[in-house]
Symmetry: C2
Amino acid sequence: MKDVAARAGVALKTVSRVVNDEPGVTPGTAERVRAAIEALGFRRNDSARVLRKGQTASIGLVLEDIGDPFYSALSRAVEDVAHRHGSLLFTGSSDEDPLRERELTLAFCARRVDGLIIIPASADHTYLLPEIAAGVAAVFVDRPAGMIDADVVLSDNTGGTHQGVRHLIEHGHRRIGYIGDDPGIYTAALRHRGYTGAMAEAGLSPREAWTVMAPPDPARVREALTVMLAGPDPVTALFCGNNRVTVLALRELAALGRTLSLVGFDDLELADLLTPGITVVAQDPAEMGRIAAELLFRRLAGEGGPAQRIELVTRLVERGSGEITPEPPGN
Amino acid sequence: MKDVAARAGVALKTVSRVVNDEPGVTPGTAERVRAAIEALGFRRNDSARVLRKGQTASIGLVLEDIGDPFYSALSRAVEDVAHRHGSLLFTGSSDEDPLRERELTLAFCARRVDGLIIIPASADHTYLLPEIAAGVAAVFVDRPAGMIDADVVLSDNTGGTHQGVRHLIEHGHRRIGYIGDDPGIYTAALRHRGYTGAMAEAGLSPREAWTVMAPPDPARVREALTVMLAGPDPVTALFCGNNRVTVLALRELAALGRTLSLVGFDDLELADLLTPGITVVAQDPAEMGRIAAELLFRRLAGEGGPAQRIELVTRLVERGSGEITPEPPGN
DNA sequence: GCCTGCGCCGATAACGTTGTCATATGGAAC
DNA sequence: GTTCCATATGACAACGTTATCGGCGCAGGC
């Protein structure tokens, strides 16, 4: 910038004015400066700008795994909102590891991001308190923050699952299995609650062996299905607590040569092309990302008020309901 | 940092030393400094550090759409490599818009990223020359850079398609349709070449109406299929130039109530569960990302030498080959 | 002719780090 | 006791911007 000033025969500050489109520069001078910029291939160093201004025009997104379609859709929506606000986006995957989440988040803070969007892996976010006090905005998505009061955008996990299970019940199913994720995960626990609620509401008391809650794993899913399908009164339907479980269950069912009426939480690409079609409780990851990002930027623009908790409804997408086999005789 | 120094009764520089684990600080002093850091909730401002050191420990990734599974898998691999090298990752989606690609790239450069990984949307990357001269490393992925000589990691698009089409031919197909993306896209053009090559090699001369090259769009795919399936000699097999086309074709075929032997470029989640199974020419996006990122960091570590061009082989994943209907009698 | 106000521009001080060099301190060697 | 070296610490400049403020020229009103 100094070189540009020298070449254009003006002061540093004048170059700065031109670069930032500030008023108070004669067109002639501005033109000379622009020519010098062009000639020298000058580009402003945003690091220095950040240092001086205190605002970085960037936000950080911490999620579980950018490779997962659910999160990548969410990420894309966040990026679009950030772009509209002239912000760049840092992304990082925590792999569901609280330590890594913390590392990533603090690394973003050290870069002085203006705000954070976090899909929590940790149950304790008090480590963020100094940052928040220092002015960083944070919005949590998919799961609430741990031990601190913060904005959060959620899906109606319990209600959605309830609706999905009721759908199965209304189609005549009585023996319905449930495979969910690790119960330590917030969403997994809530969805499971939706299942037990819907079953209880219908006066059904599922066997203990029909519920499996564990990190998705082919062997475990296969074993769970084997148990559920054994004996004289096997399950006739299955609810899967997330898309990874759904995929594993479909694959293992195919391997076992069995089919079940299946409802899954989270939509799947191609779900409509499978036979039988898979009914799903769909979240809208893009909408979640959009809403969270917009809330973040409202906070950054100075919007006050207490922490918000926004819960989005899920949508039951019925596919191939006709395929759901009615309860076989004998029950 | 000044405050920390004051509270610990030491000079600024000593705090800096402690923060950076530099040698030459008595354990006692270091402990006092650490206590002050803890008490004040101090965290180093990396913007200032960047300004001073000239290295940002961050890289930028410009891709077409982070929401697309192919790119998100690639992105995840890049992130992992970056993490191993202590770097953070900026990501941005260009939406196949050259202007947006340029904007994003230059914004990353203004933040002084150490390096760039770019999936090009533009045919002219001369705008990067000043940046590269200034020391930014750049590796291109999936498509080569335009008008400049730069490292690039590619798939064997032509060879992969050739192999996929030959697979169909070996299974007895003679009338094979091709639906690809906009021929202006590098990969789309090369894949199409693989199709024409394989057909010619087998002495087949496909009708013009059996090839459609255009941005994926449901209506257009449906129309293309209608034409290909009309008349006394309809196509018996179809090659789809990328996963978006494959999905559209599957959907439209289902709507038309027809099935075709289908081979697609790019793998699909759940492709194994469809009936008939979909044979694909699989790229490994994670591998591409990993290799590109590792090359980038080698360049950043000072590795010289001419620009590299790395071409990765594709893998033909046969699924449900039994389902491929042999050429009907009459031909 | 002098003062006032306004529009353009420049000098200088920050922003929060780190690199360089100088200084203090203490112990070992003579 | 003096010299010397090593080690711990500090003062200060520099990184590349932007904010503040002041100066300078020029037009207009008395």
